[in-house]
């Protein structure tokens, strides 16, 4: 890295090198039994340089030849965007616990054993169910250095487990599943299987729902899958700067129910979304996006922040290209109401666990719609069974403007969101049964 930076400095005005080295070992189960063990080692190196005020960018997977990388980046710099920001100078970052050496020490044998427990717990509960499970451990080292004196690295460990079950019943397919991840080893399969068994129990029977407007409870899985993407899009500094966010003029305005608060928090110990700095070397921090229903803050990377005349919120994220704004770990504040109590008060309604195609609607406008892949009908305060051939349609700005209740069952979904259940007064349902 030092060599690339030193040579890039001679060829350009400013430069930054970013490198990620990862080692991942997933163990896969298919059809209720062990199927494949993988080992994935990757090295990726990216170079941003500034020449004549324009940005050049290139990246290389695998062994890097410094000259080649610099030439590629120089080639793009003659067309690149005008640079309006500086790479961050050297600084000390706050300590965030994201590495546990115990992860590397978990043996393949232990991972297989845990995976088998995941499969056995689900398969044992329901005859005929076919499970896929994955237990995975990984170590990722992230290094960054720039010509402004910035220089930092961190190593993160992560461990994740997931199980998905598919049950074919009278020509009907039922999908259940859940996952968990942490920077520390996970040893208790029940963290995942208890939730899956609950899904199976709720879906034991089918129940028909008619078209209409019904009260709806989104479970934590349902929120993470259906409601977050329109918010992620609306709070993205880039969407705001481009004028495409419906919230662009709403900073300081109450748009959501006052019980609704949303924070992007990359500082929580041992959460896979946590890190001391973002992919541009900017220190991360906890950002309140929505505070008690009021639009508080959008999230930015260096470049978007400079365009918008503000500062980076430490949300520069690289997913295969140049950094762009992305949240780390979204947290919706927990509420006071037990989900069972929400259900008790509903005469006829819907519980949504998984929506299929939710992100296909006009997300920019806050619209979402999707087929209820896993959801239950509520009848007279009880779960009556699984709904099928049912679509829901809504707009998050209308729906989250007034909540009926906020659950007390907050939990992490796949390491990127923590949310309780949310009870909304009414959602449009289109059902095949009329």
């Amino acid at each position: 890295m030092e060599e690339i930076l030193a040579r890039a400095k001679k060829a350009a005005d400013k430069a930054e090198v970013f490198q990620v080295i990862s080692h991942r070992t997933p163990v896969h189960f298919e059809a209720n039994r062990l199927k494949q063990i993988q080992t994935k080692e990757t090295v990726g190196t990216a170079l941003r340089l500034v020449k004549n005020g324009r940005l050049g960018f290139a990246q290389v997977g695998g062994i890097v030849k410094a000259g080649e990388l610099i030439d590629m980046a120089l080639e793009t710099s003659s067309f690149g965007a005008e640079v309006n920001f500086d790479f961050p100078a050297g600084q000390s970052y706050r300590e965030i616990e994201i590495y546990d050496p115990a992860v590397e020490k978990v043996s393949i044998g232990e991972m297989i054993e845990l995976g088998q427990k995941l499969v056995d717990a689900v398969a044992g509960s329901t005859p005929g169910i076919q499970c896929e499970a994955t237990v995975s451990r990984s170590i990722t080292t992230c290094k960054i250095a720039n010509t402004q004196g910035g220089h930092a690295h961190y190593t993160k460990s992560s461990y994740s487990i997931s199980v998905e079950g598919m049950l074919v019943r009278d020509g009907d397919l039922l999908f259940v599943g859940d996952s968990r991840s942490s920077c520390r080893p996970i040893t208790d399969h029940q963290l995942v299987t208890v939730e899956v068994l609950k899904q199976l129990e709720n879906a034991r029977r089918n129940a028909a729902i008619t078209s209409g407007v019904f009260p709806v409870i989104f479970t934590p899985l349902g929120i993470a899958g259906a409601l977050l993407s329109p918010l992620i899009s609306a709070f993205n500094g880039k969407t705001v700067f481009d004028g495409a966010s419906p919230l662009k003029d709403k900073k300081g305005t109450r748009v959501f129910d006052e019980r609704f608060s949303l924070t992007d928090d990359p500082t929580i110990s041992y959460q896979p979304g946590s890190a001391p700095f973002d992919d541009e070397g900017v220190a991360t921090r906890s950002n309140v996006l929505i505070g008690n229903g009021v639009v508080n803050q959008f999230y930015y990377d260096l470049r978007t922040a400079a365009l918008a005349g503000t500062v980076s919120t430490g949300n520069g994220n690289r997913s295969g290209g140049l950094p762009s704004p992305s949240p780390h770990a979204l947290v919706i504040d927990n509420g006071p109401v037990a989900p069972q109590d929400m259900i008790k008060g509903i005469k006829q309604g819907l519980v949504i666990e998984q929506l299929m195609g939710a992100e296909q609607g006009n997300i920019l406008n806050g619209d979402f719609s999707g087929n209820v892949l896993l959801g239950y009908k509520i009848e007279n305060g009880e779960i009556a069974g699984r709904v099928k051939d049912t679509m829901v349609f809504g707009n998050i700005y209308q729906l989250l403007g007034k909540l009926e209740a906020l659950g007390n069952d907050s939990r992490w979904i796949a390491g990127y969101a923590r949310t309780p259940s949310i009870y909304l007064p009414g959602i449009s349902v289109s059902a095949k049964s009329g």
């Binding site: 063990i37 290139a58 695998g62 076919q130 397919l173 495409a244 290209g321 296909q360 006009n362 679509m391």
Partner: protein, 452 residues
Amino acid sequence: MQDRLFSALKGHNADYIEIRLEESNSTRLIYRGERLEEAGRTAAIGGNVRALVKGGWGFISFNNLENLSQKVALAIEQATYVGKEESKFSPSAPVTDRVDAEFGKNPLDISLAEKKALLDEYNSIMLGAPQITTTSIGYADGKKKVSFANSEGTYIEQSRIDLTLRLTAIAGKDGEVQQVGLSTGSKGDFSAIEKLHARVRDIADRAAALLTAPQVKGGPYTVVLDPVLAGVFVHEAFGHLSEADHIYENPQLREMMVLGRRFGGRHLDIVDGAAVPGFRGSFKYDDEGVPATKTYLIKEGVLTSRLHSRETAAKMGEPITGNARAISYLFPPIVRMTNTYIEPGTINFADMISDIKEGVYAKDWYGGTTSLEMFTFSAGEAYMIRNGKIEELVRPVVLTGNVFATLENIDAIGNDLDMNQGGGCGKAGQSPLPVSNGSPHIRIRNCLVGGK
């Protein structure tokens, strides 16, 4: 290279071993509004080893190409850990071949300046249109060369050039935001994305028109799909269900998808095949070294075959089809589609809509996903059909349903097959894989449309 791979494979003991080395180069240009967000170049070199021992798989991916023989040994060690039964793996005759990249107007010979100039033209058309607040453009081209060898003596070098362009026009007014996109691509022919000026103007105008368009009332309708959306439908709703890896280990699904089962009327023929030349899903050999085929999934309404890897074909006792594909060296090959389409029938568009009292004409692709039997897909454009006529523009619709019921409900197939080259398929974390899909116009009775 051939000697190097064969020597790494020598002296090991496994039921099957393969090595794949890959070299890729790509260029991308991304715009957001007037801003060129990214002009970037990417290069990668990497490889993998996959080994099969007693039905269990080991898979190692790496960037460091040294010590290949040790990597083979590690993959075998992992596979041995897993394997507890007899390996089932269909035979495929060993081949030695070199397949050069096909191209028309080769995008790799065109300067970045020229590419940028074309995108600038499209961008200014969109940005100059009324009520357009912003745009986004993503262009990418790249070349990939794969060297593949297996323990059965196959050695294949295969190169390909892929190119994609997606344009989106975003219109806004009074807090309403609407967008319309255009996706296209080609197997190494830059001219496929030239001269789109009129279509680009059209998407901008349509995004603006959507701002005042009404929302469809949700419920079941007679729906007519244009070739693009019908292509997405056949890919999502039926294509994924034809991928044998979803069903080969599941007795009930095997029963549900038993060959010979009737899925639709005698007018329905559905094909998948990389041997169909000239599209983004076309190739000569798949990523297990199996020659590409053209496979009738449904012939005259009846399920006739499905898509296989060598393992799924062996486990189901069906012929191999050459559908094992890996998006890159980071992943093992899995069963994937290639070019998937409904073959044309005889009905023209006017006749297809003439007897529809109230229905929806849904056009263009916005997205689609499936959970095997249930699918959902979104149109980019939709109109009401009333009394046999296309009437007002409505907000984009999401269509959903059960694949079995929906295929049965196709009651008209048009004569105007068209292939869509703008798609990318995602499965098991491997996305976007170059595929194409297509269809003539089709009519579906009683299709559920999401709405207020």
